[in-house]
Structure formats: C-alpha cells, structure tokens
C-alpha cells in the first residue's frame, strides 16, 4: 500500500521534467528554425503550392500554441506524427523498431561500467594507499575523458581489423536469420534457441558495450572506493570486529553500505549513458535510436528529432523512478 503510493508520487514528479523538456524542444525545433519546411525542402525547387500542402499536412500552418497542444495530445497517445522527409512514414513505428537495440546496448554498457567500476573501486579501497590504488584512481579519472568514437574505432582496428577476433560493426550477422520476438536480439536468440544467432549477437555486442562501459566506469571506481573506505572506517565496522565477526563478512557488510550511493549515481548517470549510446551507436553502425537521430539530423527531419528528444526525456524520467525504487529497497532508512 505504502509502496504503491510512493511509486505514484515519484511518477508524478516525472511529469514536470518531461513537460519542460517537451516545451524546450518545441521551442528549439519548431520556433527557432523559422519555417522548417522551407529549411528542409526550400532548396529542392518544389513549387510553392506543394510546400504549402506539405505545411498543411504537417499542421505547420496553424498557430504555435495550437501546434503545441495538438502535438502534446498526439504524443500522449503515442503518436509522434510522420516524417517530414519520407512522407507518410510513421515516426512511432520507426522508434519502436529501433528502441530495443538502444535499450539492449544501454543495459550492456551499464553492466560493463558497473562491473569495471565496482571491481576497480573495491580493489582500490581494500589496497588503500598502495601503488595499485593510485593506478586504479588514475585509470578512473582518465577513462572518463576518452572520446567514445575514438575508443570504439581503435577497438575496431585492433580486434576486428588486425586480430580478426570480433566483428567491427552492426548488431548481428544478417545470414543467421534470427526470428525477432521482443526485438532484443540476445534475448530472442535464447527464446528461439538459435545458438548461432546468440553467438553472433553476443560477439557484435562485445566491442560497443566495452567502449561505452569503459568510458562510463571511471566515476563508479571513485564512488565505490570513497564510500567503501568511509564504510570501513565507520564505527559499526569496528563494532563488528569487537564482536568477533569474520573479516570477510564485515567487508561484505561494508560493501553493501557503500553500494547504496552507487545506485543513486547510476540513475543520475543514465543521461550520460544515453548520450554515450548515441556516439557508440554511430561508431558501430548500431541500428538504435542514436543512429536514427543522426540519420534524421542529416536530413533535418525536425518531427523525428523532436520525437527522439521526447522519448529520451521520458526514458530519463522512468529510470530515475526505477532507481528511486531500488534505492528504497536497498536502504531501509528510506520509507515510503
């Protein structure tokens, strides 16, 4: 009962954030460019009547305020309108097709970054003030400033071109004929029992996930180290020792305490993860929302770009909700 209320309240808090971003993006992409139709198609010698027709079809001839609410209404019903470049193409359908790829990559990236960050942070904290600790801390601060496309392309050069261990780009071998159920290839290949597809999907996943995960791991290294050091110096750890609890168990308890802030941070960092995913997808020709955005950017397909931004804003909101929930489950001090 209390939990449901808590979820409801937290969910309500997403609304203003998404609305602000919706408004912002409306201003940026509908009002700033002046006449988007002219900006996109003006150079193509299309007769003015036809431009007028396109404007009318897209609803761009209405006053801004009407457009604002009409579009909002449609978005709330899951309708992001149609592409301005390929006429009649439903943006919602495009996004749904691309979404699983991005989510799959983001989850894999998150897992890699947490695995690297938590391991290195843990080692650094337990080997405090040694050379290893210093090295891991430097590693933590340097990875953050790696430029994702550079790291990704270097990985491609080394592991795909020179060593030929892994595929350079794409999401799966087109020949393996995977039957999609959920759109998550790794999941689908397990569901359909297609081992070949599973191997292919996994091997395509390794380099992008490693690229994204490595760059985002640095802050976790530091966070885990700082918090674990703090926990190990706390009074309850001393008390555990005084009561004769095994060192390895005490470390485990301290670790659990140290992980709580990490969860919050993982939520805050989700925006970075999505931004990083855009670059990672472009670098690995990964057919997700990031590459979709970049494709649409080159055509200046405003409605599509707008849709991507709104979907991302929604994502960020939902993730912060999920993180709040995990946090509440991990930390008994949070009551709902």
């Amino acid at each position: 009962m209390g939990l449901l209320r808590y979820i409801a309240v937290r969910a309500m808090l997403i609304v203003p954030t998404v609305l602000i971003l919706y408004t912002l993006v409306f201003i940026v992409l509908r009002i700033l460019p002046g006449d988007p139709v002219l900006a996109v198609l003006g150079t193509k010698n299309i007769p003015p009547e036809q431009l007028e027709q396109i404007r009318h079809n897209l609803g761009l001839d209405k006053p801004y305020i009407v457009q604002y609410f009409e579009y909002l209404w449609n978005v709330l019903h899951g309708d992001f309108g149609t592409s301005m470049v390929i006429s009649g193409r439903s943006i919602t359908a495009d996004l749904l097709e691309r979404l699983p790829a991005t989510v799959e990559l983001a989850i894999a990236g998150l897992i890699v970054s947490l695995a690297i960050g938590i391991t290195t942070g843990f080692i650094a904290a337990t080997k405090r003030d040694t050379k290893l600790d210093l090295g891991l801390r430097v590693f933590g601060s340097v990875t953050y400033t790696l430029f994702i496309p550079w790291l990704g392309l270097m990985f491609q050069l080394i592991f795909a071109v020179w060593l030929r261990w892994l595929p350079a780009s794409g999401r799966i071998d087109p020949d393996v004929g995977l039957e999609t159920v959920t759109g998550f290839y790794i999941l689908d290949s397990i569901i359909t029992g297609n081992m070949e597809a599973f191997r292919s999907a996994l091997s395509h996943m390794i380099l992008p996930a490693l690229t994204l995960g490595l760059v985002l791991s640095g802050p976790y290294t530091r966070l885990v180290r700082t918090n674990l050091v703090k926990a190990l110096e706390s009074n309850y750890v001393l008390a555990y020792h005084a009561r004769g609890v095994r060192g390895s168990r005490i470390l485990l308890h301290a670790f659990r305490n140290a992980l709580i802030p990490v969860v919050t941070y993982a939520g805050l960092q989700f925006a970075l993860l999505l931004g990083g995913a855009v670059l990672t997808e472009t670098t690995f020709d990964w057919p997700g929302i990031g590459t979709y955005l970049v494709e649409k950017v080159s055509y200046r397909d405003y409605p599509a770009i707008q849709a991507v931004v709104i979907v991302f804003a929604f994502f960020v909101g939902v993730i912060s909700l999920i993180v709040d929930l995990i946090y509440a489950l991990l930390d008994p001090r949070i009551r709902y």
Partner: protein, 323 residues
C-alpha cells in the same frame, strides 16, 4: 578471593603517526575479578579508550601494542592470532561503544546483527535464534524489536541492542567505552542499571571507560585513574574516592561540582601534556602542586600502598620502595 578473570600487565600502546610516536598507553596494569565494575577514569586524551581497545587487541592503525599481556580467563588475548583472536572477541571479551547511533549497521535488522555474532562463533542456527530472543529480552526490550532497523530505535534502545550483541555469547569481560555519554540523563541511568544487572547475574567483569568521575563513584567497585597514558592510582572505589592518594586524583575530585559540599569546583591548572613528547619523570609533575626534584627526573613505579590500593607517586614510594 578467587582468581582474577582479567589481568592486564605492562600494557603499552603507541601510535606511529607521521608527526611522531604518540605514547598513548604506558605500562598499564590492572586486575579485575568476577562481577567487578572497574571504572577507568581520566580526561579526554588520557589514553583510556586506547587501553579499552587494546584489551580486545583491536587498536586501530597506526596504533600498535608494543608490549604487555592481557589475560582473560587464563587466555592471553594479545598472543592470539587470526581466527583464534576473532573467536576470542565476542565470546571471551567484548565491547560496547560510545555512540549507539553509528555502531550498528544501518542497513541490517538488529536481530540479524545479533544472530550473526552467535553464528560466527559456531552456535547452531536454531539455538542461535532462541538466544537472540533471550538476550533481547534480557536487555529489557520486547522480542519484536529484533525485526527493527537501527534508525527505527531510540538511542537508549540502540545501546541496549549493542549491549545485547556484545553479551550474546556471555563473555567474561565487557569493555564499555563511555556507553552513556551520548544519551540523556534518564536513559543513562537505565543503561547503567542494565549493565549492573548483567554484571551481577552473569558474573561478567565490566571495564567502564568514562570521564565522569561522579558516575564512577556511584557505580564502580574499583577505580583506575589515568593521566597522560599512565594509570596513576588504582584501588577499591571507597579508597580512591574516600581517601585519594595521588595528587592528580585529588585534583580531579575537586574539579567536579559536588552538590553536598559548598565548595566551588576547582579546575586543575595547566593542560594535559602532548603525548608525542611526554614530560620527563612523572608525567604529572608540571601540573603537580607537590612536585619535588625527583619527580622531574625519574618516573615513579606503581606500588601497593595499602592492600589492593596502588599508586604511582614519589610521595609514597620515597623511603620504602626500591626507587
């Protein structure tokens, strides 16, 4: 009298800091018998907490036990290593800390924290479960509190839980480091009553570390007075309070307000020494109104001036002892 259950001999603890060696505890010796409540009193920085930690062989770095012996029930705690030492903590000698707000793990149920102590010492699960209930009742809390998280309890309740966790295995000695300082007055009394009760029913000896000499006078059976890392006087409560011998003890007693007497409390002149460079000879001599020449040169031994009453001062060593 029977054999003492705690014997401390020549216990010496130094902190090896970057700014020099801090001589926190120097050649401390003590004895405690079953059901004793030994109050270790002294100003802050006198080394009393360090001595408490050393009794469990739990001095945090950069501190190190340089020499000495701590014998609990015939076992020298300082000679134990690894798993033996771990098991001695909790079952032979245990500790309760000053701040009940930070000494319990905030994210685990308090019952689980007590249960863990039992399981870690090889008590079978079923029996351990029963013991948790028993010990929670024994510290005066309702059984259902086992399911609470620390933040759901009051300070007094947390301290009771800490005591429960510390005595769950019925150790012979319990070190209580300022267990009531963070609590309000009424709760203080309740906690002290609980400790008294535990001591009398189990025969456990309690080492009470406190700066509150009035509390020591009220509750202790024996009092040890520490100054600048040394035990300067040690004896039965009535002797130390009623007939103090060491000039520091006298000054300390006069420095606390007393409702019955009309005298104003008199602070001790001067400041406690820097333990990185303790004064030569007797460490109290710079502040001592009765300091003699020898006090500056040589450190007095601790001698038994009357039965069970020890003091470390040249005023009492002079003629009779070796010097």
């Amino acid at each position: 009298m029977s054999k003492p259950i705690l014997i401390v001999e020549d216990l010496t603890v130094y902190y090896y800091t970057l700014k020099g060696i801090v001589r926190a505890v120097e050649e401390a010796s003590l004895k405690a018998y079953s059901s004793d409540l030994v109050a270790l009193v002294g100003e802050s920085g006198s080394g009393k907490s360090t001595l408490g930690y050393a009794l469990l062989n739990l001095v945090p770095p950069p501190g190190r036990i340089v020499k000495g012996r701590v014998i609990v029930n015939g076992v020298d705690v300082l000679s134990l290593r690894g798993d033996e030492l771990r098991k001695a903590r909790g079952s032979l000698i245990s500790m309760v800390f000053q701040d009940p707000f930070t000494t319990l793990d905030p994210v685990r149920r308090v019952g689980d924290q007590i249960l863990e102590v039992l399981l870690e010492h090889g008590v079978p699960l079923e029996e351990a479960r029963e013991r948790v209930v028993e010990v929670i009742r024994a510290v005066g809390l309702p059984e259902r509190m086992a399911r609470a998280y620390p933040h759901q309890l009051s300070g007094g309740q947390r301290q009771r839980i800490s005591i429960a966790a510390a005595i769950a295995l019925k150790p012979r000695v319990l070190v209580a480091d300022e267990p009531t300082t963070a609590l309000d007055v009424i709760v203080q009394k309740q906690i002290m009553d609980l400790l008294d009760d535990v001591r009398k029913t189990t025969g456990m000896a309690i080492i009470l570390i406190t700066h509150d000499i009035a509390l020591a006078a009220e509750r202790a059976t024996k009092i040890a007075v520490m100054y600048a890392g040394k035990i300067v006087e040690y004896g039965p409560k009535d002797k130390v309070i009623g007939d103090p011998l060491h000039p520091y003890t006298k000054a300390l007693l006069k420095s606390v307000p007393d409702i019955e007497s009309r005298e104003w409390p008199r602070p001790i002149p001067g400041t406690p020494p820097d333990l990185r460079k303790p004064p030569s000879g007797c460490r109290f001599h710079p502040r001592c109104p009765l300091a003699m020449d020898i006090c500056k040169r040589k450190s007095p031994n601790i001698v038994e001036v009357e039965p069970h009453h020890y003091v470390s001062c040249w005023l009492y060593e002079g003629g009779e002892a070796s010097g």
